[in-house]
């Protein structure tokens, strides 16, 4: 119930976002699907499904994705551009979600930093993960600390460890690290 509702609400955030431009691989996969469907009716349904699956895997449609809770530990995975995160937080607060944590991840091979926001609900089991990526050399994400006051410390912590600047945060001073710390220990290229 709640899952469907929040999924629909969060889908609205994708309205302005253009679909990711198709990579050559995707179109090949799609062509393959067409070929498999068109020539004969003998094609086994399983094969068709497989081909469709392959196409879907190559280009997932933008939007919230339901995940396998038993395997992953969360229900909804929402990949958003950074500037949409505050809007998503507002939607979640309206549905009475609470914030559990913010986790940074350093994807050094992609030259990107990721922030993963975990939300949970007090009344019904529904874990929502909002994730966003930002340029590793100039990591900036708008703050949600004015929406969820609890995010204040989580964002400061993420700034401590990864150097992600949360734009609009009232006080981005080191929290867990010493007050004069100018290093970010969880970056993969950090040397003590």
């Amino acid at each position: 119930m709640l899952l469907a509702k929040i999924k629909e609400a969060l889908s609205s955030l994708y309205d302005g976002i253009q679909e990711t431009p198709e990579t050559p691989e995707t179109s090949e996969a799609e062509e393959a699907t067409e070929e498999a469907v068109v020539p004969s009716e003998e094609t086994a349904p399983a094969e068709e499904a497989q081909a469709e699956e392959a196409a879907a895997e190559a280009a997932p449609p933008p939007g919230p994705r339901e995940t396998d809770y038993a395997a992953k530990g969360y229900h909804l995975d929402v990949d958003l551009p950074s500037e949409k995160v505050p809007e998503a937080a507002e939607i979640l607060l309206r549905e009475n979600f609470f914030i559990e944590s913010i986790a940074g991840v350093d994807w050094i091979d992609d030259q990107q930093l990721e922030a993963v926001y975990d939300f949970n609900h007090f009344d019904e089991l529904c874990r929502v993960v909002i994730r966003t990526r930002t340029d590793r050399n100039n990591p900036e994400i708008p703050t949600i600390s004015h929406i969820y006051q609890g995010a204040n410390w989580h964002e400061r912590e993420t700034h401590d460890f990864f150097g992600i600047k949360f734009i609009g945060h009232p006080n981005l001073e080191p929290l867990l690290l010493p007050e004069d710390a100018d290093f970010h220990p969880l970056l993969k290229d950090f040397k003590a």
């Binding site: 395997a71 609470f98 559990e100 944590s101 975990d118 089991l125 969820y148 006051q149 609890g150």
Partner: protein, 373 residues
């Protein structure tokens, strides 16, 4: 007051440092207070005095080698942290756990929860100026430490759970000792009730002091007894059942008032509920193995990220791991409950008397090494 008093004659308010070395902060927490006479205008907790970067340690050792770290964050309910970590890795790597091991996990975790609440009870009343209950509480807690020492080998920083089971099976003397202890504590609880809970001084110090609303708990992500004292029926053991908790019949104490007294009552009631769980688990304890035949030394969870939460003594403890498919975690995020619970202190303490704010802080049940990690 143990702290640095700074006063500017041109200012109406003054700054007061509470801690980092102060008995009421239970460790090394510093709170910067802006005071107007006895009243708090602004309160800002300053963290990090005991920060050890457990998350980085997670990235430079194997999954197995991180196990001892879990006993060194929340040193009062270390087994919950053990449980949270092994449950996360078991979910990620698809490791089966024998039923008997899950029962033993629940029994020891609940014993640990009682010992944590007993210590909190003693220390909290000590914060409020009552010395005696601490000694009684430590007497009871000592029995639990002895029991847990006999199976885990340590008294505080447990490292008892392993991937796919527990380190050691429990024996008859542990079972008999646990039953004996529950009988003893059941007799002691009415005494605590008469001596402390119904004490008029305690009631006057806690009733209607430090209110935390439902809305505030939600905005800050407060969990555990802090949320349940604000009328939120949220306990990971029921809400998101893990291990063998669905097998047991127990209640979640919830109080609507949201004041320090409500948080006090939640924890006192939880002691009884934990005893109920232990009794049922001992009665139903299945036979069988408690660990895999060959110890799991190499874990390689599939690429991806995983989340798992458990109910620790102070609230929801969650771990988010990111695996790159190797023997070493790519990222290990530790979500400690008190970090979120303390973050609301600044807002909740505004306008309170200093002495009342200390009662509020005590009712949050802080363990600093868990906040700082």
């Amino acid at each position: 007051m143990n702290g640095l008093l700074q006063q500017d004659v041109n200012q109406e308010t003054f700054t007061l440092n509470l801690g980092p070395q102060h008995p009421a902060t239970h460790g090394v927490l510093r709170v910067k207070l802006e005071m107007d006479g006895e009243y708090i205008v602004e309160a800002e907790p300053v963290l990090g005095y005991i920060h050890r970067m457990h998350e980085k340690m997670g990235e430079n050792r194997t999954w197995v080698k991180f196990l001892p770290n879990c006993g060194r964050m929340d040193y009062l309910s270390a087994l919950s942290y053990n449980h949270g970590y092994v449950a996360t890795v078991e979910r990620a790597a698809g490791i089966e756990v024998p039923e008997r091991a899950e029962y033993i996990r629940v029994i020891t975790v609940e014993l640990n929860r009682i010992s944590s609440h007993l210590l909190w009870f003693g220390a909290f009343v000590l914060d409020l100026g009552g010395f005696t209950p601490l000694l009684y509480a430590f007497d009871d807690r000592e029995q639990i430490l002895d029991l847990l020492e006999s199976v885990t080998g340590s008294r505080l920083t447990y490292c008892y759970f392993r991937f796919g089971g527990v380190y050691n099976d429990i024996d008859d003397s542990f079972i008999a000792g646990t039953r004996e202890f529950i009988k003893r504590l059941r007799k002691r609880m009415p005494m605590y009730d008469a001596l402390v809970t119904k004490n008029i001084i305690l009631i006057k110090r806690l009733k209607d002091i430090g209110p935390i609303s439902k809305d505030m708990a939600r905005r800050y992500g407060a969990t555990g007894p802090v949320a349940r004292g604000s009328g939120i029926n949220f306990d990971v053991r029921k809400h998101e059942p893990y291990s063998v908790y669905p097998e047991f019949d127990f209640d979640i104490p919830v109080y609507e008032e949201g004041d320090s007294m409500a948080r006090y009552m939640v924890r006192m009631d939880e002691i009884e509920q934990s005893m109920r769980i232990i009794e049922q688990a001992l009665a139903k304890l299945p036979e069988g193995e408690v660990k895999p035949k060959k110890a799991i030394k190499m874990v390689k969870p599939e690429k991806g990220d995983y989340y798992c939460a458990v109910e620790a003594a102070r609230g929801s403890f969650g771990i988010r791991i990111v695996s790159d498919g190797t023997n070493t975690p790519y990222r290990m995020k530790l979500r400690s409950p008190t970090y979120s619970n303390l973050s609301l202190f600044g807002e909740a303490a505004k306008g309170m008397l200093l002495a009342d704010a200390l009662a509020l802080m005590g009712s949050l049940d802080l363990v600093i090494p868990e906040i700082d990690r």
